[in-house]
Amino acid sequence: MPTAPPAQAPPRRLGEHGLAWAFLLPSVAVFALFIGYPLGRTLYLSAHANDLFGAPSRYVGLRHYTDLLASAEFRDTLLTTALFVLLTVVPGVLGALFLVLLLESRIRGVRLLRSAFALPFAFSVASASVVFSVFYNPASGVLNGLLSQFHLGPVGWLTDSRYALLSVAASTIWMNLGYNVLVLSAGIGSIPDEITEAARLDGASGLRLARSVTVPLLGPSLFFLVVVSTVNALQSFGQIHILTRGGPDGSTRTLVYSVYQKAFAYGSSDFGTASAQAVVLLVVVLACTAVQFGALERKVHYA
């Protein structure tokens, strides 16, 4: 069939339809098995009590959810999660924006500096967390070593419930900085030079240029970054597992970490409660994405 006109004869169309489904099949199979089916099973598990080994025993309806809402521990978990999102997203995005705007000024060595800010990107969550655990060490860590130079007492960065969440958030901001800078740099790079040059000719420079031209035109990138950072913060796990294990006193126990603790940590197999929390996580992530799209999209200026 070498020179047959493309896509005319009926048998060939039929073959193409079959081919389309054959091409989609591997992806669809993976999604169905590892996303679709488990979503249903999470709902199922969340409506069932389970025995000590995690096997669902009897239907309990919404009991797990009402128990969660009534539990002070779970309300703390939600509050910690919200706080963690705020503490990482706001300074993370604003800090990256500040750096990227500074990088826009006409000075030498900017490319080298931009690359420097991208370097933390090479660290995985685990490797960065392990490094920060060395920094935060109360006895031999660099941070308390620096404080002692100023005759300040040692701080229990990860062992004091007042500081633990802040410390975990600070290390998370560092981990994300490279990515945030890369995204915003790419955003600035896509702003047409004519626009910035026109504004400069009109006498805008420095702060004025940033406030009236660059930042509004960065809208789509900033919007994207806020959504992605929020969803990532909600899903943060490795840094909490490595740095604090949710402690001290549950002060760093976020929603994802709570799912892990109930389902997997120390041989715990409370899949019912954990699944109910997993559903809450799903709803929160979907809601955040939806709200951010609704609230922010109207304010975003597309160049």
Partner: protein, 295 residues
């Protein structure tokens, strides 16, 4: 090392020449900007520096109070110590294997799916593509329990299959490649057809080679995400021999609390591939990660 990086979104040459002219009245402001940037860069880079310095320090130096910032005598003992404290070499190989398989598989399944969406007739195109996009919105952590039960039930806990199976396809990869395939010139496609190329040949001989940049971007992105995975390898593996490097690092931290030098040496080893990707593949990273942010 960093000089090899390409500037993301570099402006065209004439515009850059214009940008380089420094206004005399802004010289003071320029100096302030410089100082701010330098301070920020030093703060951001300090952990990177300290990892490499600390990895070569002797235990007494790194544990000194206040801690030393520069190694007085360089030692390689931390590296051999780290490799022996946990089966780091085996875990390194596990990570390379797992991330490599996931990358190859995701490229393959995404290429096929994207091809079906762009070049093949499909009655339910819109709803099916909608389902692919919907997979992007489901947080992995909310389906992790059933996936653990499924794979353990199949006897695949603590196996390579268990580590890779859930990640062999990707809605994001399909989305990215579909965007790229849609821009493929219709004339080239028709020409290939007239020359007798069927779908399979057109796909692998023409479309894939001509889309190498976007495939490279996707490969870098997938490899980095797979390499950095933590939650899933933590729960699906039970023995140190099956664990990935990331889990090995946290074990190293737990087992060698007293010796930060070993921990930092382990981190240095784990950084080598990703550092190479960031230094040489930044262009691809930006392209792969900012889809959706920048049109």
């Amino acid at each position: 090392m960093t000089a090899a990086l390409t500037e993301p979104g570099a402006p065209a040459a004439p515009a850059r020449a214009a940008r380089r002219r420094v206004h005399p009245r802004s010289a003071l402001a320029g100096a302030a900007v410089y100082l701010l940037l330098l301070a920020a860069a030093l703060t951001v880079l300090f952990p990177v520096y300290y990892v490499f310095a600390g990895a070569f320090m002797r235990p007494d130096e790194i544990a000194a109070y206040p801690p030393a910032l520069v190694p007085h005598s360089v030692t390689g003992r931390n590296f051999s110590g780290a490799v022996h404290a946990v089966p780091l070499v085996r875990q390194y190989a596990n990570s390379v294997l797992v991330a490599g398989v996931i990358t190859a598989a995701q490229l393959f399944t995404s290429v096929l799916a994207a091809y079906a969406f762009v070049f093949l007739p499909l009655r339910a195109r819109k709803p099916v593509f909608g389902l692919f996009l919907a997979t992007l919105m489901v947080p992995w952590e909310s389906v992790v329990i059933p996936n653990y039960l499924t794979l353990s039930g199949w006897g695949l806990g603590n196996t390579y299959f268990g580590l890779v199976l859930p990640f062999l396809a990707s809605g994001f990869g399909t989305f990215l490649l579909r965007q790229s395939f849609r821009q493929f010139p219709a004339e080239l496609r028709d020409a290939a057809r007239i020359d007798g190329a069927g779908h399979w040949r057109f796909l692998w001989r023409i479309l894939v080679p001509l889309n190498r940049p976007v495939l490279a971007a996707l490969a870098v992105y997938v490899f980095l995400s797979a390499w950095n995975q933590y939650f899933w390898p933590l729960i699906i593996t039970r023995t140190a021999e099956m664990q990935t490097l990331q889990i090995g690092l946290s074990t190293l931290r737990d087992s060698e609390m007293a010796d930060p030098g070993l921990i930092l040496a382990g981190v240095v080893l784990s950084l080598l591939p990703t550092l190479a990707l960031v230094v040489f593949g930044q262009r691809f990273i930006v392209r792969g990660l900012t889809t959706g942010a920048v049109r």
